[in-house]
């Protein structure tokens, strides 16, 4: 469980503001932080990680005190059990993918964990490559795997998926959900993408001008300003059979499986992700 009250002066586009956030996060929860740029989202993550020093307040994680102004306690990042995934990935260019993960191990006994993470993030083939040879999505998976190799209690993700195209994002969201489950993490995710928040998070917290302005279940608190008359569903192809006009697909969307007819210009295979869009017609 994380219990925090942190303050820190912010420099925003509208002049100086004060970050002043109180939050209690249950162990194992995946909480999304969203809000306009300059609202203090990244600053909050950096304060949690110990990369910046708060002006005042306290921060407790489980039984450990990471920061307490009154008692003069401030743990440096090295002594906090965190995995931090940076916006620019921050992979070490002088190490291979495997070496990046091994570097993160708390001791040398974790080789099996490295293999498991390479497998989980689908990086087995790339283990001997250097980060600069990888695509953005691949680098992102390495960054996530490296953060997990540290075996942290708290996982902090700073808009990790923002720069990726839609199919890559979807795969990574799946990987992230799997990792969150597998390692029993308490996760804070900064995101701008409401669909992503709804899919991954059990709780969404909006920051504005350094303060919490909304907090609750994503489906309820997220704004619906950009509601469209149509729909947009993201699904996974579970079966694809040729038909007279192209292919007949069975697409899983959440709990449902939908049958879809598509032309055969780019044949689909089971496992492919696709986005269904359309509009709702009034029945007679």
């Amino acid at each position: 469980m994380i219990d925090l009250h942190l303050t820190k002066p912010l420099q925003t586009a509208h002049g100086p503001a004060l970050l002043d956030v109180r939050l209690t996060v249950a162990a194992g929860e995946l909480t999304a932080i969203y809000g306009a740029s300059g609202a203090g989202k990244t600053t909050l993550l950096r304060l949690l990680a110990g990369l910046s020093r708060p002006a005042s307040g306290h921060l407790r994680v489980g039984e450990e005190v990471w920061y307490d102004q009154a008692r003069g306690i401030w743990l440096p990042p090295q002594r906090r059990s965190i995995g931090f995934v940076f916006q620019d990935y921050a992979l070490f260019p002088n190490m291979t993918v495997r070496q990046n993960l091994e570097f993160a191990l708390p001791d040398t006994s974790g080789k099996a964990l490295v293999d498991e993470l390479l497998e989980l993030m689908d990086l087995g083939e790339l283990a001997r490559q250097r980060p600069q040879q990888l695509s953005g999505g691949q680098q992102q998976r390495v960054a996530l795997a490296r953060a997990l190799a540290r075996q942290p209690r708290v996982l902090l993700l700073d808009e990790p998926l923002a720069a990726l195209d839609v199919p890559t994002r979807l795969r990574l969201q799946a990987a992230l959900a799997a990792a969150h489950q597998r390692f029993q993490l308490t996760t804070l995710l900064v995101s701008h993408d409401y669909a992503e928040i709804t899919r991954l998070a059990t709780r969404a917290v909006e920051l504005d001008g350094g303060r919490v302005v909304r907090d609750g279940v994503p489906a309820v608190v997220l704004p619906v300003a950009n509601a469209t008359p149509g729909f947009r569903l993201t699904g996974t192809v579970v079966a694809a059979v040729p038909s007279a006009t192209g292919q007949t697909l069975q697409v899983r969307v959440g709990e449902e499986v939908i049958r879809v007819e598509v032309d055969a210009t780019t044949p689909y295979q089971p496992g492919d992700m696709l986005v269904l869009t359309g509009s709702v017609q009034r029945g007679r």
């Binding site: 990680a49 990369l51 990042p77 931090f84 570097f103 490296r146």
Partner: protein, 224 residues
Amino acid sequence: MSDFAQTLLLTAKLATLTTLLLLLLGVPLAYWLAYARFRGKAVVEALVSLPLVLPPTVIGFYLLLAFSADSGVGRFLVHTLGLELNFTFGGILIGSLVYSLPFMVQPVQAALHNLPHSLREAAYTLGKSRLTTLWRVLLPNIRPALLSASVLTFAHTVGEFGVVLMIGGNIPGQTRVASIAIYDAAESLDYARANHYALVLVGLSFAGLLLLAAFTKRSASRLL
């Protein structure tokens, strides 16, 4: 050993020792200047860069004063530590360290400063100490800068004249390095001898730059 070989060997010894010692001293100094924020940092940076703009004879002159038993520092060096530095190899080594300091510190400091800050922060969040981070993450990623700083320091030390002449003089096997020997030979109209030294220096400098270019190209292609 011939006078010629002795002089070249002494030059190589001075430049090698200067480069190695400056790697040991200059890298921590560059690290400190690249990342620390403190009052008076501009003053420290100006001091480090001072040898770039000062006439070498000025540096040599003040070191000569500092090393002589007439000054406070010199008295301490001579009487307490028993270090006689004027007109000795130790003296010109210290002179070279001062004179070449910015050639080591500036490129390394710039390279460290230009690395993405997130690399350092990522290593910290992975539980790595500052020293481990420097050794395993930062230095390997600025290898080209370390190499070119070392080559420049070496070459600059080989080429120094004013500082060595002021504090070292021209003692064969002790303080007579190649640049002094060239001056000495030319003074006494022995142009053939001056030419031998000069040709060796031109050849070595050229080869050094070619090697540096080859190495930087290789490590750049590995890192980028």
